[in-house]
């Protein structure tokens, strides 16, 4: 899922400083699962903002809602009515949701309430770990299912580097060296021969270095011109 984290409240207070009526809108997708922008976080942030503004002597009125998702246009339609009732919206969706709302409702003042961090797993309650970089050219069939792009600090394709010590990364010693893990995993699976492949320099265009990425499925596009 997409992992996000609430921005500092002082930063959000700066964003909404000119306004007296705002909406705090959450998303029941990834950000709800990672406890950054679901129903619970919406009501906490709204209460915190009201409390802070009350203390400043400038009371704030809030509308609170959480959409099923903010990355699909159909779920954003309530924003059309909402923008008539409030002066601004703080969205607790990931950056995708805020961008889509800004695309669809250009006259709506919408601000991000979270920092979108990474694609991660939830190995234990209250813990999230990056597992994928979304690089668009997956090679983990060669690496025992472990991604050296996301999980190696140097994104090495032919690791480990000389800084791998006792199975740990030299950048952050508490982090396992993924290339060490890849070796151990492939050895256990009897697939060590996969390491004989030398990967050439990575093409980063599928990773987004060629500009914003898009994907189209003409068989699903009802309004396709093709």
């Amino acid at each position: 899922m997409i992992i996000a984290e609430r921005k500092p409240i002082k930063r959000i207070l700066q964003m909404i400083e000119p306004f007296e009526r705002i909406a705090v809108i959450g998303c029941r997708g990834c950000v709800a699962i990672c406890s950054a922008g679901g129903d619970r976080e919406v009501e906490i942030l709204a209460a915190a903002l009201r409390l802070a503004r009350k203390r400043q002597g400038r009371p704030l009125k809030t509308v609170e809602d959480t959409f099923v998702r903010q990355c699909d246009p159909e779920y954003l339609t309530p924003l059309g009515e909402l923008k008539e009732k409030v002066e601004a919206v703080v969205s607790l969706a990931c950056g995708v949701g805020v961008n889509l709302a800004a695309d669809l409702y250009p006259d709506l003042k919408i601000y991000p309430g979270v920092d979108t961090s990474f694609y991660g797993a939830n190995p234990a309650l209250g813990e999230w770990e990056e597992k994928c970089r979304g690089c668009g050219d997956c090679i983990i069939d060669f690496t025992g299912g472990l991604c050296p792009i996301a999980r190696c600090a140097k994104n090495l394709l032919n690791g480990p580097c000389g800084g791998s010590q006792n199975g740990k990364c030299e950048i952050r010693p508490e982090v396992p060296c993924v290339w060490h893990q890849i070796y151990e995993r492939l050895k256990a699976r009897g697939e060590l021969e996969k390491l004989t492949q030398i990967f050439p320099a990575k093409n980063w265009i599928p990773a987004g270095h060629g500009g914003p990425r898009e994907r189209k499925r003409p068989d699903l596009q009802m309004n396709s011109q093709k």
Partner: protein
């Protein structure tokens, strides 16, 4: 927020204290009950402050005695989360206190409420205005 209002958010099974039990505290004391202190959310604490409480006491069962096992431990974590939010908005985190109270020991709850009120007076004495 009022410097003279104290909110007690309390597990229903931890204690059955009434307003009469805390009548000695020279403040308006509001007791709000929950089916378990683990049900007390961060937003309940913030809303109590919004509703003019100068300080909030969250009361749960002693560690190891919650009949839902981890209710009061969860409450403690939510108190910590609420305190961090108060720090972020420039209020003393000590405005929110956690107390682990022996089951049905009203005396212990009243003592915790008095300590919370004293903490509130100390905060006020430092000149921190809450509203």
């Amino acid at each position: 927020m009022s410097e003279l209002k104290l909110a007690i958010l309390c597990c229903h099974y931890t204690n059955e204290a009434t307003a009469q039990d805390v009548a000695d505290i020279p403040a308006e004391v509001v007791i709000k009950r929950f089916p378990c202190s683990g049900r007390i959310e961060v937003v309940d604490i913030l809303r109590a402050l919004e509703e003019d409480a100068g300080a909030v006491l969250v009361a749960g069962c002693e560690k190891g005695s919650c009949h839902n096992n981890t209710g009061s431990l969860r409450a403690e974590k939510r108190v910590e989360a609420a305190r961090k939010i108060l720090e972020e908005i420039g209020l003393s985190p000590e405005r929110v206190q956690m107390a682990f109270i022996p089951r049905l020991d009203t005396g212990a709850l009243v003592e915790a409420a008095k300590r919370t009120f004293e903490t509130l007076l100390e905060i006020s004495a430092k000149g921190e205005t809450s509203s």
